[in-house]
């Protein structure tokens, strides 16, 4: 399947990845090749096949509703690019 530059821009936006013009060009070709290969799945009729996500028998997992010691704030903030008090700081969200 051929995808267009417009598709690449759309999916890059969904992915929150800024692309240069050169990267757009590269990924249009590479993703088109990969998607063409993936189209071989359409050779199979899967109308009566359930999708599989969990490969081992699953069951509900409960735990005691008890307090556990959370990560200390200073540990959680240790690698943060920017903090203020007990918070993570980000650039302006609403203009």
């Amino acid at each position: 399947m051929k995808i267009s530059k417009k598709d690449i821009r759309y999916v890059a936006h969904l992915s929150r990845i800024a692309l240069s013009d050169n990267e757009e060009e590269l990924f249009v070709h590479q993703l088109s090749d990969i998607l063409s290969y993936i189209e071989k799945l359409n050779q199979l009729n899967t109308d009566n096949v359930d999708p599989l996500v969990y490969t081992t028998n699953t069951f509900n997992v409960f735990r005691e509703d008890a307090l556990e010691k959370p990560l200390a704030i200073e540990d959680a903030q240790y690698c943060a690019p920017s903090t203020m008090g007990a918070f993570f700081k980000v650039p302006k969200v609403i203009e």
């Binding site: 999916v11 800024a18 692309l19 990969i34 959680a76 690698c79 943060a80």
Partner: protein, 486 residues
């Protein structure tokens, strides 16, 4: 045989009988790393100071005849996508280059509880996305058998460190073959347990329905020992299971008379290298000599496995990697206007091309209008692949084939064609899609002197049988005793 060429069980015996001190062993390991690793480039970071401190503590315990753990004093290298408290964990990505985890992965905690010594963190393809370790954003790891070749991937650093005798054992992770394929290309033993056998807590997520932590060792007995330590239920990973963990070494040397080995005709494809084909045929003759029955089986959907994998794994990855947004940890782009621009620039600067490609592919497959055609379709075909195995295991006890269609390839040879690189995982991916365990063991060498791996697969949670079948081959051969000269 020199100390660092020995297996973990041999070294452990020397430690417990006080023939060597742990401090001495760990000192030797770091001396060798400093001499050899500038060439091999298997480690991203070393943990020398705390490793030596821990070594002294274990020596003291042994001096005082105190009880010690199953891995007392054994150096273990850990893939750099497993969180280690206070020790940098990068996933070989620029986006995490300054990340120091505030907690240990479950498997790392288990290593420490059993007195293993974590000597350092090993290189990988960025976020474990690759089959050659060339996608690391820091360095290219080289194959100790031929430094012009790749070690395989994505756990290439962990494989090369064991093959170069820098450490007797290491941990890797396997989403589509990332433990088994580099083990095959580096001439060591690589085990991927059943999905759910080992906790994924603290393993930095790639494809959550496929990821499993695996062992990389010099022989099958060491694989049994290391699996013994890391297997089991962990309340922090709700997909880890209660199924009891057996004693993997007990009965490993029983005979395999009457064992039914399945050979899938789909694994004997034209893409297989002639030397790999020959090694496989020789291996089957050895199994027949040991009393096993070779039975033809069919896994008819094998040819679709790679396509399914690149939808499922990347759909899951696109969601898992959305957490790298420059807010709580990792790098942040400095010249952004507003928060969305900050996300987009941070991720553009922090991720390499392979990671970007896969995130975009995953998001495309999950996006409105394409979800049914790609993600749902792939999940249905995944079920067909699992059913193939279910049907085959009605007739046989295990399935045997090559781990990789080719021995180690040259650095750069496949780097520019993502699709060709993806196809090198054709034999390993099906086990991840079905959730079954698999092991790669050394079974020969190519004409060029490069190692070849034999893959064995069994039913869910039958690691004991898997190790038993692997051990019976190892005992008859000496491929696992060969050491790379470096």
């Amino acid at each position: 045989m020199r100390l660092l060429e020995s297996t973990a069980l041999q070294i452990k015996q020397k430690i417990l009988s006080k023939q060597i001190r742990v401090v001495e062993l760990v000192g030797q390991a770091f001396a060798r790393i400093k001499a050899v690793d500038p060439t091999i480039q298997s480690f991203i970071s070393l943990n020398e100071e705390s490793a030596l401190k821990q070594a002294r503590e274990i020596d003291e315990k042994i001096d005082h005849n105190e009880k010690v753990g199953l891995l007392a004093g054994i150096p273990v290298a850990v893939k750099d996508n497993l969180c280690t408290r206070g020790l940098s964990t990068t996933c070989a990505s620029q986006i995490l280059k300054n990340f120091v985890p505030p907690y240990d992965a479950y498997v790392v905690k288990r290593l420490k509880e059993e007195d293993a010594i974590i000597i350092g963190k090993t290189n990988l393809d960025e976020f474990a996305m690759g089959s050659s370790t060339e996608n690391s954003s820091f360095q290219i790891t080289r194959n100790p058998w031929n430094v012009a070749c790749v070690p395989g991937g994505s756990s290439g650093g962990s494989a090369a460190a064991v093959a170069a005798n820098l450490t007797p054992m290491s941990l890797g992770s396997d989403t589509g073959g990332s433990v088994r394929q580099p083990a095959a290309l580096c001439g060591i033993v690589g085990l991927k347990p059943t999905y759910g056998r080992v906790s994924r807590y603290g393993l930095i997520a790639f494809g959550s329905s496929l990821d499993q932590v695996g062992t990389m060792t010099k022989d099958v007995s060491d694989a049994s020992l290391l699996l013994q330590v890391i297997a089991g239920k962990d309340s922090k990973d709700s997909t880890s299971v209660q199924t009891p963990v057996p004693d993997y070494l007990q009965g490993i040397d029983n005979n395999i008379q009457g064992l039914r080995i399945g050979i899938p005709k789909e694994y004997l494809t034209e893409g297989m290298h002639a030397d790999v084909h020959k090694a496989l045929k020789d291996a089957l003759r050895i199994y027949e000599k040991l009393g096993a029955k070779i039975i033809d089986v069919t896994l008819p959907h094998t040819e679709y496995a790679v396509a399914v994998y690149y939808i499922v794994a990347n759909a899951e990855a696109s969601s898992n990697l959305s957490r790298y947004d420059g807010v709580r940890y990792g790098i942040r782009s400095t010249n952004a206007k507003g928060v969305i621009d900050m996300y987009c620039r941070t991720r553009a600067e922090g991720f390499g091309n392979e990671v970007k490609r896969r995130i975009m592919l995953g998001n495309y497959a999950l996006s409105s209008g394409y979800y049914d055609a790609y993600y749902l379709k792939a999940s249905r075909v995944r079920n067909l692949i699992k059913k193939d195995f279910d049907a085959a295991f009605e007739k046989v006890d295990c399935i045997i084939g090559p781990t990789s269609p080719v021995p180690a390839f040259k650095i750069g040879e496949r780097a520019n064609n993502p699709l060709e690189m993806y196809l090198s995982d054709i034999y390993t991916i099906p086990a991840n899609l079905a959730g079954i365990p698999g092991i790669s063991i050394p079974c020969g060498f190519s004409k060029d002197g490069l190692p070849i791996g034999l893959q064995i697969l069994t039913k869910h949670f039958e690691e004991k049988q898997l190790l038993h079948v692997a051990y019976s081959f190892e005992r008859e051969t000496d491929y696992h005793l060969k050491r790379a000269v470096i």
